[in-house]
Symmetry: C2
Subunit: 344 residues, 2 copies
Amino acid sequence: MRAAFMYGAGDVRIDTVPDPVIQRPADALVRVVAACICGSDLHPYHSMPVGEASPMGHEFIGIVEEIGGEVSTVERGDLVIAPFAWSDGTCEFCREGLQTSCLHGGFWAAGGIGGGQAEAVRVPLADGTLVKAPVGEDSEFLPHLLTLSDVYGTGYHAAKRANVGPGDKVVVIGDGAVGLLAVLSARQLGAQQIILMGRHKDRTDLGREFGATDVVADRGDEGIAAVRDLTGGHGAHKVLEAVGHMPAYTQATGVVRPGGVISRVGVPQYEEAPVGFGSLFGPNITLTGGPAPVRAYIEELMPAVLDGTVQPGKVFDRTIGLDQVPDGYRAMDRREALKVLIRP
Amino acid sequence: MRAAFMYGAGDVRIDTVPDPVIQRPADALVRVVAACICGSDLHPYHSMPVGEASPMGHEFIGIVEEIGGEVSTVERGDLVIAPFAWSDGTCEFCREGLQTSCLHGGFWAAGGIGGGQAEAVRVPLADGTLVKAPVGEDSEFLPHLLTLSDVYGTGYHAAKRANVGPGDKVVVIGDGAVGLLAVLSARQLGAQQIILMGRHKDRTDLGREFGATDVVADRGDEGIAAVRDLTGGHGAHKVLEAVGHMPAYTQATGVVRPGGVISRVGVPQYEEAPVGFGSLFGPNITLTGGPAPVRAYIEELMPAVLDGTVQPGKVFDRTIGLDQVPDGYRAMDRREALKVLIRP
């Protein structure tokens, strides 16, 4: 089969590799119907040292082609959604809804498991991992369902961890797909005011469609001042940080209200950050977030997708074949595309 | 009157200064009946540069001697508890129970307001700040009520911010007065297991009396391993950090369970700390806490103090007069005393 591999920064190729096969009784084999490129794939695209080639992609939906002897929740022919982490569904963390900390799980494109930017994927712990969607592979809902693999669930995680609720003033930092779906999630959870910080008008326009009440294009001190003006002087109750770079963290501490919450879902590209009296401690700010256990949210979010209440798949503004994946990375890196959908 | 002043690291003196007087209609004048020395007073005791003398003390109870024309909630002769921050009680933050961020409030021993280690204090915004206790100045409950000024409310804040509840496994880092009262608070909130990390047996014994189910004297990797053993391998749901030094933060990230909470009430003696993928983000750890709005908790905690259910004043193991305050600092600094009560 064909699959995407990264060989180093800026170097993505499509290779032909052996077809995956069932290796364990809990495995399922999934033919990929739709996959995509994630904003977080751009981090190695900028910085990966040349070395062993790494499979790519952690978001996909597909058709179950074959199942191992222990698999009971999905069967051949089902259209399934794969969350970006695979998990057993039974350990104490899975039962609490923190599948990204599953005691027996892991991540795609690592440890001998392939990536989603491929024609097929061997799915370990299929019963815990896959969620059947009640549609066929020609469904018009496919792009929307695909966002449940990662970006929608990740935006929702930001809002849930921040405990966004009615009456809240919310700031979303970042106008990438996750930021835009954090806007949508905050609206679903009843936020009163949603200020989207981003500077790409086509994206912030989609953010307004998703529920943003205000857009702030300024950054740094000017951005902080603009948010404070919009929130009556004291900042936002909840800040959803969907970027992962240090300036976004600084922005977050600048726009959050005393007693408020900063919820991060952008993968931090730093390890140390200010948390002392002058930043988090003095004003009793809570810092939360992490890799979203999107598996926990798929059943919760799917109904509004399938009845058309929300259309999270609008974040896809380009569709390509597997052979065009290197172009897809380039387009997202140059911000010519917001999020690229792949039809292998 | 006499009052304690710090002139620099290790240099505390009792000076005679003019008696405080009512300056504004919202002021009250309080004669101090009991005050104390705080673990956080030891931070400047170690590091304060020589310069202008600073008044000291932020925990006191006393008798109202005089009130300004606008004061209506306390009157002359009342025994009152002063929380460690003064606040108006009416701004949006006070109404939300975050009096340490009061828009018009402040802290003792700063900005022209005296400290509690003195014979008398001018209390600004008396209606918002002071809470009347229904006992006289000779009450046996005085030491217990005095803890509502800071240490008990601060330990309680750690537990509340961490949302400690039934079934939780809790670690408390630090066997000072705040740590011990965080133990007591976690027990009141229904924690199933409370592991106290501390190495002073007389203190950890009091911790056991307050509700600690386990004591871990080890620190560093050994301490982390001991906690993991005690919690079934994965660490504690909630970690209450009552020290403020960097090793305590490192300890907290080491003993917290994925998806868990670190709640800090020890004033951080650092500004930057690890918060990235390898510490907080990857395992979805929440970092919370800050200066406790103890004013919000006084009415809630007082009944169990007055009916003898809890005896938080057991943290006081030495009582001195105002003239012995310099000795009191020395005793706490050398850990000869856990917490020193002052009877001016």
